[in-house]
């Protein structure tokens, strides 16, 4: 008799996967489950706090500049500072960062000057030209399209057997784009030294995560590409750094790519051009303020006796000073001569376009 009734539940399982979550620092600054080794280094934790505070202060200033017509559209990272800073802090200078437009914290950590960041958002390409590691990519505006670049960069490292890692940061919205998929899939095939970081702030402009994807986590998207994914509390800078360190060092060690989902929340508007009140209730935002990353690290450091009012005030003043200097430099920078729009079009401007440059120069002379 060849007919025994079967049900789909009888089918054998041929592959199993799981996604873990990493969090050390609770919202109140307590650490119920212990801490990773590096957290013994208080001065390191303080540097993370300082970087997050600088990022937030800088964001505030940038918005003020935009509101008064002295800066273009700007994207704050309010509430997400732990992601930018935590990730960047685990990178070496020789690693390559491929950031989205919302990762100012990472750029600042890696040495980009405030003046340059402002220049870029103020409408001058030269903001991308100098500070920070020369091999870091500029902000990527077309969402997700930097992911294949990251794979190309990582491939170059692998081919040359350089112990370097590419780190690609993008938002939850970016995970919907084929670009990410194609890059992750290739990274899996080639076991590239590449760490993907989904900065999951749960919104893509007005589109909430639930309409962006039906997957319970973003971390599990790595399963499709055959490498591990992990979710991390993106408001816990210690967890972000720990996850980044683990992934970056594994990648450096030839173990291939990883995906880190850093779950956080966009406390601000999408950009200065956006009014989030149109699409999400203020109560939701209010609720998430409880989880924000700076307060909890501060509480932790205070409890450790390593931080207090004096330090806080000194830090505020320092940030203020740095930012003011950067702003002053930015505001003092005259627009480039119009004909410079041809300077970096090609290695050498083709003769066919010389008259166009001349015309622009003439225009501006006139």
């Amino acid at each position: 008799m060849d007919r025994t009734p079967t049900t789909d539940e009888d089918l054998p399982v041929i592959a199993q996967f799981s996604v873990r979550r990493r969090c050390y620092l609770a919202a109140d600054g307590s650490t119920p489950g212990g801490l990773p080794d590096f957290a013994a280094d208080t001065s390191l934790l303080i540097s993370l706090l300082r970087a997050m505070v600088l990022t937030r202060s800088f964001d505030l200033k940038a918005v003020a500049l935009q509101r008064t017509g002295r800066l273009g559209t700007y994207a704050v990272s309010l509430g997400q500072e732990a992601v930018s800073v935590g990730i960047a802090s685990a990178m070496r200078p020789e690693d390559v960062l491929l950031p989205s437009y919302r990762e100012n914290g990472a750029l600042l950590w890696r040495g980009a000057r405030i003046e340059d960041i402002l220049l870029y958002w103020g409408g001058d390409e030269s903001g991308n030209s100098s500070s920070g590691p020369a091999h870091d990519f500029p902000y990527c505006i077309p969402v997700g399209s930097q992911a294949p670049h990251a794979a190309g960069v990582a491939y170059a490292f692998k081919l040359r057997q350089e112990p370097r890692v590419a780190v690609c940061l993008f938002g939850d919205g970016a995970t919907s784009k084929g670009d990410l998929w194609e890059a992750m899939n290739f990274a899996g095939v080639e076991k590239l030294p590449l760490v993907f970081v989904a900065n999951n702030n749960q919104w893509a402009i007005s589109v909430p995560l639930a309409r962006q994807t039906a997957s319970e986590t973003l971390a599990q998207k790595a399963i499709a590409a055959g490498f591990p994914g992990e979710q991390v509390d993106g408001n816990d800078v210690i967890a972000v750094r720990a996850a980044a360190e683990a992934a970056i060092e594994a990648a450096r060690d030839g173990q291939g790519p990883r995906l880190i989902e850093a779950l956080t929340y966009r406390l601000g508007d999408h950009t200065t051009a956006d009014d989030a009140a149109r699409y999400r209730p203020p109560e939701e935002v209010q609720e998430h303020w409880k989880d924000e990353p700076i307060a909890r690290l501060r509480a932790f450091l205070v409890a450790r006796g390593a931080w207090g009012k004096t330090e806080e005030e000194r830090l505020a003043a320092e940030c203020q000073e740095k930012i003011e200097a950067g702003v002053a430099g930015y505001l003092a920078t005259a627009p480039r001569a119009p004909e410079t729009m041809f300077d970096h079009l090609y290695g050498e401007l083709p003769g066919a376009y010389a008259w166009q440059r001349d015309e622009v120069r003439g225009d501006s002379d006139a």
Binding site: E125, R211, Q356
Partner: protein, 326 residues
Amino acid sequence: MPEVTLVEAINLALARAMQDDPEVVVLGEDVGVNGGVFRATAGLQERFGPGRVIDTPLAELLISGLCVGMSAQGLRPVGEIQFMGFIYPCLDQLVNHASRLRNRTQGRITCPMVLRTPSGAGIHAPEHHSESIEAMLAHIPGLRVVFPSSPERAYGLLLAAIRDPDPVVFIEPTRLYRTARGEVEDSGEALPLDVAFVLLEGSDVTLISWGAMVKETLAAAEVLADDGFGAEVIDLATLKPYDEQTVLASVAKTGRCVIVHEAARTGGFGAEIAALIAERGLNSLLAPVARVTGYDTVIPLSRLEQHYMPSVERIVTAARQVCQFG
């Protein structure tokens, strides 16, 4: 008649089309609850529900591909690409599918879809937000490409695009979204898709433009009038297929022609019009054709963008030369 902005006219046309035809659906990033980053779809989701006004995931290829599948099933999808700089992932779907599914199936499956997208510089936007690639699109057989320049034409042409049985890319001049105002009657009447609009008659020189540059072109015509040159101003409005007759008739009359567009010069759609004239209008031509265009460089960020875009002055200078030639 109420005065509305260009983006409000778009909104009126969308609402009208959705009300008249239950097959019309709107989809794109932030088009639903948020009503679109430029508010072109404001109020539509409230009125027609989330089934017909769909907030998609962040994926432009998907948006264009969904339109193909939906329209193959008889829906009339109107997809929004948030900025033209993000339309490139749609090209595969536009070229390989939307514009040829009718032909591939010899009429069995068709794609009555519209892809809307704002285009052009001049609003101090970030990188990649200032593209003008209408020429690439107008090279694609089987597609229609429309690029209005006033609230009235935006309204009538969008209705026509939605009702057209074939795929249409509908390009909207970002710079005019809120600055162009005009009286628009929400009559539900479409404008023809294959007719250029003569905005000003004149007999000395033909000025041809489309999209946001029509504004500067009209301003240039005023300056030229002061000079004593009568400019005929044509808003091409539909670029593919375009109204060759109106162009040739005007050039036959004036003998002189200046074409104005914001896109990069080489291979811009101005080349097509100049070529038409070189082929079929040569006899009447009294002076070289002139193109006043964006330069063959990457459009600069906001600090320099005004030096990239054709200015009234550049148009006037070119037109004067053309008028004084020979």
